[in-house]
Amino acid sequence: MTIEFEAPKPIANQQVMLKTVAENMMRPISREFDENEHDIPWSYVEFMHMAMKAAGGGGGLTVTEKPQEGDEKRPPIGYQKLATQIEMLAWGDVGMYLITPGGGLGAAAVAAAGTPEQKEKFLTRFNSDIPTYAAMCMTEPGAGSDTSAIRTRAVLDEKTNEWVINGEKIFVTGGDKSFTEYEKLGKGFIVVWASIDPTAGRAGMRAFVVESGTAGVKINKLEKKMGIRVSDTAAISLVDVRVPFENMLGSATVEKNNTGFRGAMATFDATRPLVAASGLGVARAALEFLKEKLEENGVKIHYGLPRQKLSNIEREVIDMEIMLKSAWLMTLKAVWMADNKKSNALESSMSKVKAGDVTTKITQKAVEILGPIGYSREFLLEKWMRDAKITDIYEGTGQINRLVVARQILGYSGKELR
C-alpha cells in the first residue's frame, strides 16, 4: 500500500461519460421535475437503464467489478467507482440520481441478508429489458434513527406457511416505483423490516420481500418535500399482508446474534459514504455555480494570500473549497477501505458527518453570497440548497452519525454512550 491520489483509469473514463449524461440528460430537465413533483422523467429513467445494461451493469448503480487477470491485476475499486458515479450524477441532479433504475436499498438488503436461492429469485429481475425498482421500508412514524423501536409485526400462519405482516412504514425512497405497477416498469418489490418477536428487540427483527401488487399493501401518499422532489417518498400501510415463508431474508429462529439485522446495519456502513458522495455532488455543483457567477461579475479569488488580505467573499469561497475537497477525500477513503475489505465503520460515519455539514453549509452560503441570484428559481442554486439538506438527514442524521463516530473513537457500546 501507499499514499496515492490518482484516479484509476476506469474511473477517469467513466467520469467523462457521466458528465455528459449529467449535462445533457439531467440538468436541462432539473427544474421541470422539481416544479412538477412526482412526475417521472422517463427520458432519464429509460436512458439510464439502457446505458447501464449496455455497460454490463444490470441491477442499476451497484458495485460491479469484473475479476482482474494477468497484468491488469489490481486491488478492487468497485465501491470507488460507484461513489464517483454517484457524485457525478448528483452533480447533475441528486433527486434524479435517486430514481436511477435498479434494486437500490431493497436489493442491497437481499444481497446482504439473503440466501443464494433468495438472491437468485429476487435479484435477477434487474437485468431485464425494462427498468425495475426495489425499495427498503425501515422507518415508521414512531421509529426513525432508532430502528429497534419498529412496531411492524410479522406472524407466521402455520396453516398456510405464510407470514402475515401488519404495520405502517414511512419515508420509503422509491416506494412508488417499486410497488405500484407501471406499464413501463418491471415488477419490483419492497423489503419490509418487521419484528417476529417484539420481546426480543433487535434480535427479533427480520426483513421480508413483498412483491409489487401484493394485497393489503397500500401506498397512502407520496410525501411533498422541500427538495429531491423528483424522487418519490412513499408512506405505506400493511394490513394482513401475506407473503410466502421463503420471502423472509435469513433465518427464522430468534438468535442473539441476529445476522439479518446486522446485515442491514452493515448495509448502512457501506452506503453512508455513498450518501456522502451524493451530497458532495450537489455541493460541487453549487460551488462551481458560485465561482462562475463571481467570475462573471469580476470577482477574483486570490489563492495564496494570507487571510488578513482576503476579502470576505474570497475567504468564504476558499473555506468552501477546503470543506468540499476534504469531505470528498474522506468519502473516497471510506469506499477505498470497503473495496479493500477493511472495517470502515468509523470512516464511513465520519464521511457522512462531514458531508452532511459541508453540503448544507456550502449550498446555503452560496445562496446567501449570490443574493437575489441565489434565491431566484430562475437558477438551480436555490434548488440545490433544498436538495442538499436531505444529506444531513437520511441514512442516519448528522447527530446519529456523530454518535456512531463517538462510540467508535471512545470504544463505547450503545449502552455506554446512548
Binding site: E6, Y303, I318, L332, A406, R418
Partner: protein, 365 residues
Amino acid sequence: MYSFEPNEEQQMLIDAVNKYAENDLRASAHENEENKELPKKLINKGWEIGLLQASIPESYGGFGERNAATNVLALEEMAYGDLAGTLAVLTPSLFATPILLAGSEEQKKNYLPKIIAGEWSPYTAALIEMSFDFDPNALKTTAEINQDEITLKGEKAFVPYAKEAHEILVYANLNGVTQGFIVPEDSVGLSISEEREKLMGLNALPMYRVKLDDVKIPVANRLGGASGHDFELILASLRLGSASAALGVAKSSFEYAKNYAKEREAFGVKIAQKQAVAFMLAEMRTEIEAMRLLTWEAAWKLDNNKEDICVAAYLAHTGAVDMVMMVTDRGVQIYGGHGYIRENPVELLMRNGRGFAMLLGLAIV
C-alpha cells in the same frame, strides 16, 4: 489508483518517530516550556532519526530522496510529541531543504554534506516579518542587486536559533519577487537581538529578531545562484510543513481530551458518556481526518509535480490553521477548569495551536 495507507517503509519511520515523540518529546514538553529551554540531548536524539538525512541523496552525503508525503507523515507524528521540540529538531531543514529544492549545484555541494554530517548543527531560515499583513509573497525586507553584490535591508522575526546559526537563509523581496539569500553569521550589518522572542506559546524554542542593515553578500549567495529560483515550491513545502505539524498538535490535544473524558466522572458517569462531550470529540476527530487527507493529497501532488500543487498546499495549510485552533480549544474545554491549569498539557497545545496562523516558515517537508 487511490490509496490511503502509508507504505511499509513509511510505517517503520512513523513508528520510530512515534517512539521519540511519545517517550522523549511528550514527556518533557511541559518542563521545557516552563524552563524555556530545549536540552541539546533531546534535539540530537530527534536529529538521529534522520528525517533530513533521508531526504538528501547520497551524492550530497545523505541516504535517500526527498519525499514530501513521507515527511508529512513523520512531521505529524513528531509534532504530536511537542511542537517546540519538533521545530528545533527540524530547524536545519529550513536551510537545507530549500537548497536541495532550488539551490545551485555549488550550493548543494557546499552546504548539504556539512549540515547533515554528525550532530544537529544550527542552520536556520528567516521568513516572518513583524507586521499584521505579513505575506510571504510581498516581503518588506528588500534585496538589491548591484553587479556582483546583493544588499539586504529589513528586519526578520521569529528566527529559530539565529543566535548560534552558522548561516541564515533570509527571504527578501527582489523587485516584487521573494528570493532566498544565504547570509553567513559574520556578515557586516547583520545583528541578532539579545533577547529572545517572547510569544504566547513555543517558549522552549529560542527565536530571535534578525536585523539586516545593508548586509552585503556576493551574488553567488542568492539561492539558486545568480539566476535565482522559483519560490512557489518552497512556499508550498513550508505550507505543508506547517499543516503537518498542526495535525500533530491537534492529534495530541484530541488524544489527551479523549482519555481525560473517559476517566473524569460527573453525575455518576464518565463525561465522555455525555453526548455534549462525545460529539465534541467526534467532530475533533472528523476535522483532523479531513485536514490530514487534504495535506496528504497536497504532498502527493508535490511529489508528483501536479499543476495545482501551490493552491493545494495553500488550501491544506489554511484549513489546518482553523482545524488546529478548533481542536485545541476544545481540548481545553473538555478538561474544564483543569484544562486552564498549566500543569495539564492541553493549555500549551492551545497556545501552540494558535501559532499556526502566523508561524508559516518554521517547518518544511
